[in-house]
């Protein structure tokens, strides 16, 4: 009775969230949307598309939204693995399905999406450079040879979901998650994923300057 749950952290995505969730639910019907106190009608849109919506009473950040999602799915006894999926539609559902299959086949604790395992993802040179720096930092601090430390698409096993405790509310949670994986000596793999940078996701995505904020948040925990 395997049941895959999808956790979608969401903040002001009313224009795209319904289509993202409808697309997801064609193959992954269990979707929980964590609404980080959006000021538009994202929550209503998500609910109408068939997602369960958990609403933060105040804005806390993407890391906090993920953790809330994790704590929500922990309460579901049938849950066998969790997919984290960005709300802006930059991920491919097929990639998520492949990653779930791989997690089950290879009995892994976590499968992490990577934009750098093949050449499908098109991005600017500067963004590529900053992401490379981030993976270098991850490799030094955790010893994990990841190629893409800041990909929002992951599949996490039930056991691992109970271990994760993200305290970085803002953007540094991606590095923190990798830290905790390495701390628990979890088995992991990277899976090639395709990210589509539409004009919409670009306008929503983080500026490369945000790397500085992430670094400071990591150092001054």
């Amino acid at each position: 009775m395997a049941q895959t749950w999808v956790v979608v952290p969401m903040y002001n995505e009313a224009s795209v969230i319904a289509s993202v969730i409808k697309e997801l639910r064609k193959s992954l019907p269990h979707v929980v949307c964590v609404d980080d106190c959006s000021t538009d009608d994202s929550a209503a849109q998500a609910r109408s598309a068939g997602a369960i919506v958990v609403q933060h009473p105040i804005n806390l950040g993407q890391g906090a939204s993920l953790q809330t999602g994790f704590e929500f799915v922990r309460l579901i006894p049938e849950m066998t693995e969790v997919v984290t999926f960005d709300a802006d539609g930059q991920h491919q559902v097929q990639d998520a399905l492949d990653m779930v299959q791989r997690l089950r086949d290879e009995k892994l604790d976590i499968v992490i999406g990577s934009r750098f395992l093949d050449n499908r993802t098109d991005m600017s040179g500067l963004k590529r450079f900053v992401l490379r720096l981030a993976t270098g930092y991850t490799r030094i601090t955790t010893g994990m040879a990841l190629t893409d430390a800041h990909n929002g698409l992951r599949v996490i096993s039930r056991d691992m979901i109970f271990e994760l405790q993200l305290r970085q509310n803002r953007m540094a949670h991606a590095s923190e998650l990798v830290d905790q994986i390495s701390l628990h000596k979890a088995t992991w793999a990277e899976h090639p994923t395709h990210i589509v940078y539409t004009e919409y996701s670009k306008s929503k995505g983080q500026s490369v300057l945000n790397a500085i904020n992430i670094l400071v948040e990591i150092i001054f925990k």
């Binding site: 395997a2 019907p29 964590v34 958990v54 009473p57 806390l60 906090a64 305290r167 001054f220």
Partner: protein, 126 residues
């Protein structure tokens, strides 16, 4: 002579950093208040008897009393910045925990009420 002051300043920074980072509730607060008291005394004395500062500065090899005062102010500011950061961090953690509990509790209520009114969606994954 400045080397003496530099060493003292470094020691002061380290001591403040350790005190701030160790936390420790009431004891920490008491130390902060002692520093605050010293700071008030220092501020008062610099107005009424500035010669004392010049004298102390000479002893430490800093030169002028105002320079010494500036150094101490910078150190004090760093201390305040560090404690403020820690306090905010703790506050944020508590607030996050509470907001999360509220979010999850509300989701529970919603699900319970929706289960009564509508049948669960068909489950293609099982």
């Amino acid at each position: 002579m400045t080397i003496i002051f530099q060493i003292l300043a470094i020691i002061a920074v380290i001591v403040v950093a350790i005190v701030m980072l160790r936390g420790g509730g009431a004891r920490n607060q008491a130390i902060q208040r002692i520093f605050m008291l010293l700071f008030i005394v220092a501020a008062g004395s610099s107005i009424f008897v500035p010669q004392v500062w010049t004298f102390a500065a000479r002893l430490l090899g800093v030169g002028r009393g105002t320079d010494l005062l500036l150094y101490i102010t910078v150190l004090a500011f760093l201390g305040v910045a560090a404690t403020t950061y820690r306090r905010f961090r703790r506050l944020e953690n508590d607030l996050t925990a509470m907001a999360r509990q509220v979010a999850l509790a509300r989701a529970d209520n919603q699900q319970n009420s929706s289960e009564v009114t509508e049948p669960p969606a068909s489950d293609g994954d099982k």
